[in-house]
Symmetry: C2
Subunit: 226 residues, 2 copies
């Protein structure tokens, strides 16, 4: 699970165990295949542990074909991040919704949000891992982008929570909303991540709706009357 090297043994680069010549599909078709393979390997072995040769093998092709799709390793991973970032942002958008619901319905709002998030996470878990769990990044620029996405999510959530805190006219115990909201936002995101982990490790024991409901209840109760 951790040895990224392909099954090599010969002296030169090409192991070419009796693999058949790959079909002539062309860069346009190959590019998404390359990204898919890269995503999988990246999650398993990290950036430095993922070699272009291993990616080529995973696609069932040789290195120059990969380089025909992306001119360098950096650009490949940059493109990958961009694609996953798009997926994440779209999912987050639908999970958070555009408007903050009234406080009375906040539990329902959280439940819906978590459910949407968990559904998206179940359908494309690696996309989430790459952003929320990004370490050992490609190079400073790409890694920074990954962190920025997370920061963006947390900030948007923080703004929504701050608005909700201020809207409520009950006594405040937690101090200044502007100070507390970011912490709570970070926490809500963490709760979402914990849900993703739960779904992945228990594999089918929970449905997104079921788990989302549980998480939503906990999050809403924890935050209300703060």
């Amino acid at each position: 699970m951790s040895a990224p090297s392909r099954s090599r043994s010969g002296p030169g680069d090409p192991p070419r165990a009796g693999r058949r010549r790959a079909a002539h599909l062309g860069p346009a078709i190959r590019r998404p295949q390359v990204l898919d393979a890269t995503l999988k390997l990246l999650v398993e072995h990290g950036y430095a542990g993922t070699s272009m040769g291993a990616i080529a093998d995973a696609v069932g092709v040789t290195k120059p074909v990969v380089y025909e799709c992306y001119p360098s390793k950096r650009e490949l991973f940059g493109a990958l991040l961009e694609r996953e970032e798009g997926r994440i942002v779209a999912a987050i958008g639908s999970a958070l919704g555009e408007e903050w619901k009234p406080v009375e319905e906040s539990e329902e709002a959280y439940t819906q949000g978590f459910t949407a998030l968990l559904t998206a996470a179940r359908d494309a878990p690696d996309s989430w891992r790459i952003v929320f769990d990004s370490r050992g990044g490609p190079d400073p620029a790409v890694e920074r982008r990954a962190r920025e996405v997370r920061t963006l999510v947390v900030e948007r959530l923080a703004a929504m929570i701050a608005a909700a805190l201020e809207a409520g006219d009950r006594p405040r115990h937690g101090g200044d909303p502007a100070r507390v909201a970011p912490v709570l936002a970070e926490m809500v995101v963490a709760i979402g991540e914990s849900g993703v982990r739960t779904m992945l490790t228990t594999e089918g024991a929970w449905t997104p709706a079921e788990l989302g409901s549980l998480l939503g209840r906990v999050a809403a109760r924890g935050i209300e009357d703060l």
Copy 2:
């Protein structure tokens, strides 16, 4: 922040920019220095991105000296993990305490636990990162060990939460405690991690006690009456 290469430029291995010969300290003294340097680099660049040469440079020494301390890269990282694992387990022990407090005081129990955790995390943040955020591990064996520590923590917490859920004689909405407790445990751990992140990113804006109190309140309220 992401280029693990040392400042090399010459053709061979040794850059030897005008560094002075290191003092004769010996393996026994050097070993902890090597572990410290390795931990720092590991957190920054991941396993594959951390070279023995870079470690040597960080210690202010050359590669053979590092190999005098640990016979291989694998063993070095194994020893590192063992040390950090010990620190973590000790901190967790004091954070969780030995007994589960009555439900009435659960908020206080959580607060104390989080505060202890955050204090430990503040004092040795990298120890935590390496375990909770372990990806691209050294080799299957070592990486597995890292995950086991996390699993252990979550399991112990789950047992305590399950006990607390069953002890409470109030109506249950969340379903079977044995099913719900692991999810909540995962969540509490996630909340703790979010607290660590908050402390790291806001750098001094929160004290462990203050933040621990906030997190404890949220966690306790979220879980009680479930």
